[in-house]
Symmetry: C4
Subunit: 250 residues, 4 copies
């Protein structure tokens, strides 16, 4: 097979279908779980979920196969793996327009921080929603379970992701507990992302408006180095020359 299709071409054509598939997945999964669908619509929804998920898996495998060095591509595209495993995460991409805020002239770190916060908060909201659906589906009809409505599931997911853990509602099935473990560790990571972003903001804010207090950059020193190099060049020209030849304007 001649490798005439590369990753960029593939992504240009697969972008819109995958976004549509992601929305279809979200609607079908929400409908099946929240509506507790049992009639003939249930297999239809299940097929939609399966097909859209399969699309994401296929997309990931194709991109992996298209890559020149697959192990390198794998490590550089961990978010793509997350998108393949949890298709609705792709909807985070819709938040991209929020990170290019007109009217805010961001600093070097400011642009990164708003991107981290928008994507972090967006991904967390999606994960809380999907985890609520998953735990509800796992628990609802289990004996002894008390997470039986979507409202309770959402409340439980918030209590879990912030690691508050009242214990008023607790999953009792294996699947529900795995969802809980994911939310807990995700919550620890989310708290870490928020804290790290705040730390970066505090560090930058402390020197806000005082350009001379900013740490010296590599660029500052390079500019200075060029000036010294120019000076050295000046000195190295024969010094007994008549002054008739005017020095080159700096």
């Amino acid at each position: 097979m001649i490798r005439t299709v590369d990753d960029n071409t593939w992504r240009r054509y697969s972008g819109v279908p995958l976004m549509v598939a992601s929305l279809a997945y979200l609607v079908a999964y929400s409908w099946r779980v929240i509506g507790d669908v049992t009639g003939p619509i249930r297999p239809v929804l299940t097929i939609v979920i399966a097909v859209t998920w399969a699309m994401f898996i296929v997309d990931y495998v194709v991109r992996l196969l298209l890559a020149r060095e697959r192990s390198v591509w794998f490590r550089h595209h961990l978010p793509a793996l997350a998108f393949a495993l949890v298709p609705v995460l792709r909807l985070v991409r819709l938040l991209r327009f929020l990170t290019d805020l007109p009217g805010i002239k961001p600093t070097a770190g400011g642009a990164l921080r708003s991107r981290i916060l928008v994507y972090g908060v967006g991904a967390s909201a999606i994960l809380i929603y999907i985890a609520s659906l998953a735990v509800l589906e796992a628990e609802r009809h289990a004996p002894g379970a008390d997470i039986t409505t979507f409202g309770i599931a959402l409340w439980w997911a918030c209590v879990t992701v912030t690691t508050t853990g009242y214990g008023d509602y607790v999953p009792v099935t294996d699947a529900g507990q795995w969802v809980g473990v994911g939310l807990m560790f995700g919550g620890v990571a989310l708290a870490g992302v928020i804290t790290a972003t705040l730390a970066s903001w505090v560090a930058e804010r402390a020197i806000h408006g005082q350009p001379d207090a900013h740490p010296a950059t590599h660029g500052d020193v390079r500019a200075l180095q060029e000036e010294v190099a120019r000076l050295t060049a000046l000195l190295d020209r024969p010094q007994t020359d008549p002054p008739a030849s005017p020095p080159a304007a700096p």
Copy 2:
């Protein structure tokens, strides 16, 4: 309408009335909830709450309309939006005098850190108090609820904002659970603010009292650059001049 009133003029005249309104809101809301007022005073308190809240909303809308570029103003004044939604937060401004501590010569970061901590702790205290009132009002008369006194509500709010979550008292109404979700995520953010401020303090403290260990600043390099520039100027003057012309005093 000719735009003769700008944001600064508006704020000069609205500052004191809004602070009074904020205090009136606090008193009326506390009275209505803690006193569990049911007689003819209740509608009076409710009107005070409604009017003061409306004042904050009007203030926000007017300032938004006065702004030249509204989308820019919106993003640069997110705290003002928080003040409009939770009027008592404005009381945090009363803490301003605490951040200008005489007798402490603050470092660049020190002033920022004390401001962050004073406002952060102040806003947290106000939020815990208001959340206790809100959860008490939502739960008190709900069937099966156990948050029935202000003392319990305050205890529950502290247990929730620190994400401890014993589960001895848990809200059961929708409104009470929303208050809980706000407190939990607020608690994660508060912990992040505290940690980020401490990280900034540790970084600065590590080089405390050793000026030479401070990171080189842009200003340091700029001073050096000026010195090199002066040196270059010295070199560029014709060197065969008689020494009679004394060199310019540096």
Copy 3:
């Protein structure tokens, strides 16, 4: 009154008595609570506790009165206030010998970090112990309380300070709940201290063993500035002098 006694003199003479008082406080308080002393020894222990506590309060007030500018002294000696309110915290000072570890050549930040960790962990251990005593004394004989042994109190304090909050044991008295609130917020602060110290360590470790990768310091630039100044001085001397006069050895 002629101010012939200053803070240093006072501390030289008060240091040993206060350390002894701190130990006496610890023993008397532990004995009274853990032993659940009821006989004639109880008033003796209570007097020891009251007297030692009074000593710390007196010490604090005297030092405050000795200070030239009291408001400055107050803000610069917040730890002293903590020692006055919780006398056993003074025992943290006994850990001082742990922070001067022979055989470890600490970096600028390393010395600070080991000091923060030793004092932070030491103060936390003392606070957990004292909080266990306080909650046990408050709860033990309260109706409906389940924190009735020192072992349970210690377990509850650990569960609370890490903000885990199982809820298997929860204080029901006002005093017990205040102890809990202190532990929860103390736990959030402790987690922040640990995280901030680790962040400082990661930042320093990333450039460990690569001196050239360390950030340029103010001292680096100052050394360079001196060299450029020397160069300028060289250039500013009359250049038509005979070479017979050798240049000053640098």
Copy 4:
């Protein structure tokens, strides 16, 4: 005794046996606890556990005795102490190959961060697994205990290490509670490690791809210093020399 064996020699010969012992320990301990072994195999497994543990203790003591300055060695080899106390932690070393990722050109901090995360996550996973075994062994046959299966123990360990603390399962024995205390404090430390690593990543990422925005390093300034020194040398040579002597090539 002539000290002909040094630490490196010892480690070269002890490495493989200790890794095997570590695996044997893991298998024997898992078997004894999960299988709830009671027959004649139990003493065999207990002997394996005791012997492998003893090997780690002996290894540690021998290395401590081999060290020239024991107190220095002790402080520089705290991980070795952790390996001696919890033999399976040595298995973290097997993760070493994960930290040398081919195809990723790490930055100074990137290599450190991936090492911290791989070892941190690896050690956490091992600790959660071992803590689950330990709590199960302690609780299983205790009266009133509800941690009676390995699945419950694992769920409890995850709930504890993230400081979520639902309280649906809580240890009631002293041994089980000590395991819980270790997990809670370990969880606080783990969250700190994750946050600190993320903070380092955010700080580096903010200047990613902009070499001139990187902070000036000691090396930058040293390079500049050498250039200025060369310039000074140029200036210090007698300036009335005939230009016939060409200047030294820079």
